[in-house]
Symmetry: C2
Subunit: 443 residues, 2 copies
Amino acid sequence: MERQEFDEIILKNAESFFDYFRLACIAVRNEKVAETSAFLEKTFEKLGAKKVEHYREEGANPVVFAEFSGKSKETILFYNHYDVQPPEPVEEWNSDPFEPTIEDERLIVRGACDDKGELVMRLALLKYFNEHGGLPVNVKFFVEGEEEVGSPNVEKYIQAHLDELKCDACIWEGGQKDANERFEIVGGLKGIVAFEAEVKTSNGDLHSSKSCYAPNAAVRLTKGLASLFDDSGKILVEGLNLTEDSLDRTERALVKKMRCNQKELKENDGIIEDLITDDVSSALVCEPSLSINGLSAGYEADGIKTIIPGFAKAKLDCRLAPCQDPEESFEKIQAQLEKNGYPDIRLTYLTGQPGYRSDVHSPFVKMVLKQAEEIFGADGTSYVLNSPIAGPAYAFGRNLKVPIAGFGIGYPGQKMHAPNENIRLRDFCDAAWYLKCLLEKYR
Amino acid sequence: MERQEFDEIILKNAESFFDYFRLACIAVRNEKVAETSAFLEKTFEKLGAKKVEHYREEGANPVVFAEFSGKSKETILFYNHYDVQPPEPVEEWNSDPFEPTIEDERLIVRGACDDKGELVMRLALLKYFNEHGGLPVNVKFFVEGEEEVGSPNVEKYIQAHLDELKCDACIWEGGQKDANERFEIVGGLKGIVAFEAEVKTSNGDLHSSKSCYAPNAAVRLTKGLASLFDDSGKILVEGLNLTEDSLDRTERALVKKMRCNQKELKENDGIIEDLITDDVSSALVCEPSLSINGLSAGYEADGIKTIIPGFAKAKLDCRLAPCQDPEESFEKIQAQLEKNGYPDIRLTYLTGQPGYRSDVHSPFVKMVLKQAEEIFGADGTSYVLNSPIAGPAYAFGRNLKVPIAGFGIGYPGQKMHAPNENIRLRDFCDAAWYLKCLLEKYR
């Protein structure tokens, strides 16, 4: 089939699922969860699923599971989520956030890329295969409803349905063309641990005339946190600040091919100071990083209040290389603070998620990459060993013991989580064509 | 005259000025300024002042000046202020904040010690001398109305009236018995400089997945501020962190006699961690200190927000030894930050005041100290070379070139600036008796 004909079919198919965008399922507010999961069950049934179920754990949003039979014996598992970010600030949208709007060859709607548009593309492709010779491979869908609140129950769901979720590879929720317009495939995600740091030096604030003898909580916190960073701002925690020099030649070449342009990054991110590394690609893939997300102590309003704060706190997160464990990493940070002389800074674990990285030498990853190069050319394809973003990929990769690859319909201007979230129709068709060709490899 | 008879007279005299407490002159809200300064002018006139004036500068609260003739040719200048702190929180007062209330041998009212009660004691003593043989020495009063907002115009007023304010010594606004119930005389004040520190690393916050390459304003601020403190929390600024080892034997002995008890200080201040010095007395008198008054960056509310703050700020103050200049000290701190590698942390000067310390060998200070020892005993007297608190003493000491001594009617439980501000009537009489005896030395 010609690309042009395919594109027309796939866009037409997609439109038949646009009601999905109209369901404002916002997990953080517990809105439209039942309606949206029911819509998906019905949709999978209509598309001819062999099996449709919803998994439901007490206090968690349901996961919609569906299974379709294909011609080969291998099975691909799709991970998606049906919840979206709140639309606010609504006044900054140029159209109704929950009404799919086509303008200037773009689809504008909440969830256009994250993550309803990705599922719509997959559904449109299922419909295409139904009408053009059948599915080349078995596929399963795992569509959860809590991704925007941190996927707290995904691993529990997977472990409860290990047999049913059995597969040969997992295709992640989405992806995009990169800043160089290359089709990007992502083989994993970094881990994360988020925590708070608190220190109390006195029961209440003191007059700063006492500063010559009284300890200052803001000074203690400042000194302690500063001891975790080197002069450039990189992490200084024993046993944590590894840079993964265990990458092999293939992996190194893939990292090198990422071509992160320092000047471009600074401009895009509005960064004023120097970057903290010269090798951004390696840092994004291999290195853990530590952020102070927030600082708070004493008097912060206008004017002067000459006090010694008795209490100070900070919020931090640590992005982990895929090989690092969140709880162990947290303990290393606490231990480093103690070793540096700050046992009084108490850390509280808030949340953590391990990372995951697919074996780049697995036949699936090789096939994924080869297929992309066949369509987009070697220069038009980028493989990212793992993204610096966190997500529940480990729950699939580690429990199901399969490689994972993410790719999709987005582009750098997609405004994910922001007003006027959008995708370009061209990218939608490119990703659908790519996925069609990939699945046909199994025939 | 016997002490008992004197005490009865002085308390009765004091009561005749209680309307002064009823005038709620709150400078920060510009309340009752004209009424209170007019009340004082009339009061001074009634007491037989040779001259009463009010100094008035555009945009400043008036200073009430009064001059009384005594029997010797020397002149004592009293510094007081007629403004008080707001009474809030009013619900925590056990009686009307502006109605003088005697309870349990205490006078409870806003301004009981700071500073109306001190002036009332001086006025009661004037009345006593009027009725008992006349004033032994010339006295002048300088009563300002902006002390609670930092005395921004005092030096201007002094410089405009240098001739009129000529005197041989200045008696400061107040004082107290110390924690060991010793009558405390203070010979000066520390200086202060207050400033803000700000750093901006990007135009807005960034997603913390970028933390492996993007600078973090909170990390920059933390690192920079931490570089200004040693591990114990003491100041580390070249040319600023002097400890005044130029004290002579007399001065050293006076510092030693201060007897600051570490355990007691920790208990009274509710301090949880170790003090930052073993020699609190020296630190209070001689050493500059640096406080972080407040810290603020990024996300500080509940929960998690994984961002890199693009902006971070802190408020700081530096208490200065009496020999240090506020602006020079500020420049040294900025220079140290630059030297430590943090030229991106911009400091903004907010306010500053030099300190002042009287020459402990001046005849006036010697007389003040000797008089206290005669009444309270050597063990019952404490001389503090300078208090760690700031105030406009330098404006009198440096411009009028006279020694300054502060002492008064307070005690550690006086709740200055707080609800139920109070003095003990016994201390009021002790201070009045002491001042009577001191002034009689001039006869």
